[in-house]
Amino acid sequence: MTTQVDDELWSVITDPSRRQVLDILITRGEASAWWLAGQVPFSRQAVSKHLVVLEGAGLVSRRKQGREVLFGVDADRLHHATRAMAELAAQWDRRLDTIKRLAEKTHAATRTQATTRKRKGRQS
């Protein structure tokens, strides 16, 4: 289950062609799937599939204009995502730094004890 979920999460952005679709939408503002397909080296079907995934992740939303469906980047959501993820990442950095400090302190203490024991052993 874990692997499947992780794969799903990662593939939203780390897939290069999906990232390309998102990049174009960010620059362009709004576009139809048909127009997008003309900008990228992959098929219209692939573009549609990427749009569905991006929409599922809440990064892209669609609206109807006449007979066309236009896709656009959800600005608030993307901005908020960036900020929130950066904050959470910073929080994990702080936790990892604390783990590093604790583990290195424990290790240094163990090593000092071992050296002292060895020295004592030689003396007696």
Partner: protein
């Protein structure tokens, strides 16, 4: 339903066994994670964590010493954690020589959809930056960091 993951890592000047004890022993966990941790480190074990005056459940998922440790948290107390209602924290320890360990953490389960509107509004006021920059920043958070 998709979300985002956070992936960070750090290089520690200590053997994997020492790092393992630091991340799994409740009295050590209470120094880097919650204020208080009541937990038996066994797969499937349910425990409790206290953050200030807030408490929450934690469920141990994987215990594979000294290389893999994972737990779920942030789910409602009365239900079991699963994708969509909780966050999964996965630690991986990789020895780099006898006295050095690379510790990697992956936290998954963050949803974009469910952020409250008030929070969105807070950030919506700061939209001067270009979108490319937002995406670069998002990408840099999501890309594997090297520390």
């Amino acid at each position: 339903m998709a979300g985002l993951v956070i992936e960070r890592e750090v290089l520690i000047e200590a053997p994997a066994e020492v790092v393992w004890r630091t991340i799994t022993e409740p009295d050590q966990m209470s120094q880097w994670f919650a204020d208080r941790v009541d937990l038996v480190v066994e797969p499937g074990a349910h425990g409790d964590m206290q953050f200030g005056d807030q408490g929450g459940p934690v469920v141990v998922e994987t215990v594979d010493p000294p290389t893999r440790f994972s737990f779920s948290w942030n789910h409602p107390r009365e239900v079991n954690p699963e994708a969509g209602n909780s966050m999964l924290v996965e630690f991986t320890l990789t020895p780099e020589g006898g006295e050095r360990t690379r510790l990697r953490v992956v936290e998954s389960g963050h949803e974009l959809r469910d952020w409250p509107d008030a929070e969105k509004q807070r950030y919506a006021d700061e939209h001067q930056e270009g979108w490319g920059e937002f995406l670069d920043r998002l990408g840099s958070v999501l890309a594997k960091p090297s520390r």
